[in-house]
Amino acid sequence: MPLFEALRLALQTIRTQKLKSGFSLLGVFIGVASLIGAWSIVNGVNRYMTEKFAQTLFGVNTFQLRRRPMFTPNVPDSVWRAWARRPRIRFSDAEALNAAFTVPVITAWQSSDNQTVFYRDKQARDIELTAASERYFEIKNLRLALGRAFTAQENRSGAPVVVLGDAVAQRLFVDRSPLDRSVRIGGNAYRVIGVVEKQGSVLGFPLDRFVVVPALSPAQNLVNPPGILDAFLVKAQSEPEMRLAMDQAEGIMRSRRHLRPRQDDNFALDTSEGVQRFWAGISRILVVVLPGVVLVSLVIGGIVIMNIMLMAVAERTREIGLRKSLGARRRDVLRQFLAESVAIATVGAGVGVVAGIGLTFLIAAASPLPASVSPVSILLGVVMGAGVGVVAGVYPASRAARLDPIAALRQE
C-alpha cells in the first residue's frame, strides 16, 4: 500500500472517530503547546533583554561602578556577607575617576531609595527617589515629555528641583501640568521642572515610578550617608573605549583602595552584559525545566496513543484479517497502523502548535511578558509529535502486522 493511501486511511479513521482521536492526541497537544508557549516566552524575553533592556535601559557602551554586582543569580550567603563588608563608593572615587579617564566619557552619580512623594493632600508611595548628577538623563536615555532636566549648576548647588517619572506625575497631578508645582520629599519642598516620557514596564516592573533630584540636593540624605554613592555611571562612545575606561577605572579603584596584585577587586564594574548574563542564568533554568515538562507530556501522550492503537488493533482484528486475505503484506498492515498513530500524534502536535501560538499572543497581550514565537520551536514541536507517533505506533502496528489471517478473520 503506498504511503499516500496509508495516510488517507489514517486521516479518515481519525475523522470518523473524532472523540477517541481527540483524547488520544491530548498528551501530545499539551506537550507541544507548552513547548511553544514557554519557548516563546523565553525567546521573547531574550530578545527583549538583548535589544531593549541592554540597549536602552542600561545604556549602550555604559558601565557602572558599584560596591557589588547588580544582577546576581544564586549567590551563596558567604559571598553576600563579603560583599556587604566591602567599602562603599564615595564621591571622591567618582571625582578621581572623572579626572583620570583618557577617553571621552560622560559620567553621572546615582543613589536611590524608595520614598513617598507628597503634593498637597495627595501622596505617591514607593517611589524610587534617585539622587543623580545632571548627565544621568543622557546616560539612561530618559527623554523629557515636559519641562527640562536640571543643569550642572543646579546639581552642584543642590537646588531643590525635581524631575518626575510619568507615573508619579499622573498620580499626583492627574491631567494638570505639574511644572513649577511644589512637591515634598522627606520634608523638603521640591519644585517640579520636568516630566520624563513614559517608559512602560519590564517583565511586570513599572519603570515610571521614580523621581530624580540633583545629587547634592537636600534629599541626598534620604538615600545614602554623606559622601556615598550607589553607583557611578560611565558612558563611552564605543565598545573599545568603554573597555579602556573600565580598565582605567579598575586600576584607579585598586590603587585608591590599596589592593595588592593578588587581591580581588572589592568593587564591581557592571555592564549590560552582566544583566544579560543574569538573564541567561534564569533562562538556563527554564531551558532545564521546560524539556522536563515537555518530555513528561510527550511520554504520557505516547503511552495514550500506544494504548489507543492497541485497542484499535484489537477492535479491527477482523479488518486486518480481511486486508491480509485480500493481499495486504505485513509491511502494508504495519504501514497502515503506523501512519495512523503518526497522523494522530502529528495532528495533536499541529493543534498544539496553533494553541501554543495562540497562547503566546495571549501572554503578549495580557501580561507584561514579551513573548515571540520561535519558528524553530514550531518545527521541533511537529517533529517531536510525529516522533512520538512513530515510537508509540511501532509496537501496536507490528502486532497487527504479525496477526495470522485465519485467526484474525475468525474473530468476532
Partner: protein, 238 residues
C-alpha cells in the same frame, strides 16, 4: 496421475498432491488433512462438502493461501505455492484468489466502491484505474447504481454481491467462496447462486465450500471430505 516432480497440465488451475496439515493443539497433534490430492480445471464449478471436522475449512485455507501445508504440494495456476513465504502468499492471494466470505467482511465505514477497490490498492493500482475497475466489477454483479452506498445501506444479498465484486475485481484465477449463503435467506441465496452461475458461464472458475446440499447442487462437481480425506468426488448434471 500426478507425481512429485511433475508440473500440472496447463488447464489445471488447482492441483493438490498428498496435501496434509497437522496442528499442534497443546501437545496433541490434530491431523486435519491426511493427504488430499485434487485437481480442478479452468472453468470448473466445484462445491466442497463435508461435516464439521472433516477438514474442509483447512483445505479452504490452504487453497486460499492463507495457510501453508505440513507436507504435500499445492500448485495454483501453474505456480507451486506450497513453499512460498508470507509476502509471496499475500501477492498470490491478491492476484489469483477472490474470496467470498459467509459474513461478507465489508469495511463498514467505506462505500461499496471503496470496498471493491481494496484488493487493487494492495496490487498497487493508481486511483483512477482502481475506480474504473471497481465500478465495472460492481456493474457486473448488478450494483452499478449502489456504488456510493455503505454496507449498512445495503441488503444482505447486495452486501454479498459487493463482496463478490471485490473478489472479482483483480481477475483472479479462482473465486473461493466459504459458505457464501450461510447468512442469507433462501430467496437471496438463490439470487447469489444465480450470480455464481452467470460468472461460471462467463468462464470463471468457482470453488465453494458449503454444508448445504441444495447449495452444493448448483455446482457441476461435488467433492466430499471426511476425516481429512476425500470421501467422494462426483460430477453432477447442471
Amino acid at each position: 496421475m500426478f507425481r512429485t516432480g511433475d508440473t500440472p497440465l496447463p488447464d489445471v488451475i488447482i492441483l493438490t498432491h498428498k496435501l496434509t496439515r497437522a496442528y499442534d493443539m497443546g501437545g496433541e497433534v490434530v491431523r486435519a488433512l491426511q493427504g488430499v490430492s485434487l485437481q480442478i480445471r479452468k472453468n470448473e464449478y466445484v462445491a466442497v462438502m463435508g461435516p464439521s471436522g472433516s477438514g474442509k475449512s483447512t483445505l479452504m485455507n490452504l487453497i486460499g493461501c492463507l495457510d501453508t501445508p505440513t507436507s504435500g504440494e499445492y500448485w495454483l495456476n501453474g505456480q507451486k505455492v506450497s513453499d512460498l513465504d508470507d509476502d509471496e502468499l499475500a501477492r498470490i492471494r491478491n492476484k489469483e484468489i477472490g474470496f467470498v466470505f459467509q459474513t461478507f467482511n465489508l469495511l463498514p465505514r467505506a462505500s461499496a466502491l471503496h470496498n471493491v477497490e481494496l484488493p487493487l490498492i494492495y496490487a498497487g493500482a493508481g486511483a483512477r484505474e482502481r475506480r474504473g475497475r471497481a465500478a465495472r466489477a460492481l456493474e457486473r454483479v448488478g450494483l452499478g447504481d449502489r456504488m456510493e452506498h455503505r454496507p449498512n445501506e445495503l441488503s444482505g444479498g447486495q452486501r454479498q454481491r459487493v463482496a463478490i465484486a471485490r473478489a472479482l475485481v483483480n481477475d483472479p484465477s479462482i473465486l473461493l467462496a466459504d459458505e457464501p449463503t450461510g447468512n442469507l435467506d433462501s430467496t437471496t441465496s438463490a439470487e447469489i447462486m444465480a450470480v455464481f452461475r452467470d460468472l461460471h458461464g462467463q468462464g470463471q472458475t468457482v470453488v465453494m465450500v458449503t454444508h448445504e446440499h441444495d447449495i452444493a447442487a448448483h455446482a457441476a462437481r461435488v467433492v466430499t471430505l471426511r476425516d481429512g480425506l476425500i470421501a467422494s468426488d462426483q460430477l453432477q448434471a447442471a
